[in-house]
Amino acid sequence: MTASRRVPWTLIVFVVLATVPWVGSRYDTFLAAQIVIDALFAVSLNLLLGTTGLVSFGHVAYFGVGAYVCGILMKTYGVPFVLAFPAAGLGAALFALISGYFCVRLIKLYFAMLTLAFSQIVWAIAYKWNDVTGGDQGLPEIPYPNLDWINALPGCGDLRISDKFYLLTLALVAISLAVLHRIVRSPFGRMLTTIRDNPERAAFIGVNVRAYQLAAFVVAGAFAGAAGALYGIFSRGVFADYVFWSKSAEVIIMAILGGMDFFWGPPVGALVIVWLNQKITAYTEYWPFVLGAILLVLLFALPGGIVGGVHALWTRLRGRGRA
């Protein structure tokens, strides 16, 4: 895997994605935006799930805090996006620091249950605190950020505002994923993998297990918050439904289906789930049933997820080629 021989696949994928507003329909851009945002959300979860070995069942809480912070700042207070977006990440990180402080004191199933409890608290607040969150009415009509500057870019003058926001989303997600990728590959990321593999041993090579778990929790929360902020603007409103626990389950499914042992597994999972969801709901209202069936097959046929399966196949083919 020398750098010189590698094809820059990620760059190619992002360039292809950036052409969607020109080559695809309005609906394609809508789908692509949803996939890209969910990809960031799923990768942020996977920092906990695949890298640190923490099963968070309440990751949507941080997504929701990000969405509400950004939405409230932009709609209620007229704060520009350049400030509201980082504020969403910081707000989610802060909430992750507080809730994570308690969660990392528990292990395994208890950890998962407490994360779920915190996320239901967020949901309850979103649902009931009418003055700030709009309660069950939510916060509709969150304004788009001012994107006139994109007109200055070549070929972008005729784009719809939703297309421009898609391009901004793509760029921000690309940057976020690059940062997360770097974190996973860093010495800090290595520490997280030792905790995933064997927390008892990790402590006895000198790793402060809880502190590192908490750090991972905060970083994951921050990026989930960033994804939430983008999602609120993309879907033109923030509603209590976004924070409901089933969304946490969905993002776990994305990560597992795509392959949580691989950095690019969760984005592939996000792509498959969002795409299937759109396609299948067009034919049948029994989408959850179909999803369940597909998951069942994939989990048994490809225990390492889609990317894991492709990787295993690739390794085998290459091995055969050499032999």
Partner: protein
């Protein structure tokens, strides 16, 4: 170097370790033996901070370390291996040892550099020293049992400890593997000027390298001293009757 005084620990009323006192001098090779369930592993977990004692103290170089968190005790120069092999199975051999070097050198919070180039030479040297030369890219979980034990020793050594706690270092090994492991331990203890405290069920191993032996029985110390004195102790003979302690005679 290590002084344990009146250490006790109960689990749901069962006294696993009861008023255990023992000392290990610097560069001494000391063994803790006893029948199954005598409290050896519990004692180790109390020393390394994995369990909190109900009473008693553990001192390292005169400093009270009773109940201190494992990662702190590790950083004070205590290395340990576990009875059930304890490595990072989904990481490569290189990544296992590299992780230990990273923590030891305070690089754990470096979240921006690429981890790959760190400590390549140190890992290679350590692998050569523990007999796993050139195994860097092997997935640790796929190593043979004996090799996993060697890797675990490497993990303990990467933090450059002064004292090594080894819980059954030859458990589950063939006679040849046991021999190799013992020679490896003796050599490394000599090279690195280590103090060694280990538990072991194989009496030949114990009597071949230990300079001092503590015998535990039902959580209590029943004998403590030089190997010859322990071998001739009447109480020890009674506890070990038919358990092979006399095999060396």
């Amino acid at each position: 170097m290590l002084e344990i005084a009146k250490l006790s620990k109960s689990f749901a009323g069962f006294r696993a370790v009861s008023e255990v006192s023992l000392t290990v001098a610097t560069r001494q090779i000391a063994a803790v033996i006893g029948p199954n369930g005598a409290g050896k592993s519990t004692l180790f977990n109390l020393i390394s901070g994995h369990l909190q004692p109900d009473a008693g103290t553990v001192r390292l170089d005169g400093r009270d370390i009773t109940g201190v968190a494992p990662h702190r005790i590790c950083r004070m120069g205590v290395g340990r291996s576990f009875q059930r092999t304890n490595i990072f199975p989904k990481l490569t051999v290189f990544e296992n040892l590299q992780a230990a070097f990273l923590v030891h050198h305070g690089q754990g919070l470096n979240f921006w550099g690429r981890s790959e180039p760190f400590y390549r030479e140190e890992v290679a040297a350590l692998l050569a020293s523990i007999g796993l030369r050139g195994q860097e890219r092997t997935l640790a979980g796929t190593l043979s049992y004996g090799n996993q034990k060697q890797l675990e020793l490497g993990l303990a050594l990467a933090s450059d400890p002064r004292i090594l706690l080894l819980d059954e270092p030859t458990a589950g090994m063939s006679a040849t593997e046991t021999d190799e492991t013992i020679h490896l331990l003796e050599r490394i203890a000599g090279e690195r000027e280590l103090t060694l405290l280990f538990t072991e069920h194989d009496m030949e191993v114990v009597f071949s390298i230990a300079q001092k032996i503590t015998v535990l029985h039902q959580g209590r110390v029943i004998a403590d001293g030089a190997p010859d004195a322990v071998r001739d102790d009447a109480e020890v003979r009674r506890v070990y009757l038919g358990h092979g302690l006399v095999r060396g005679e």
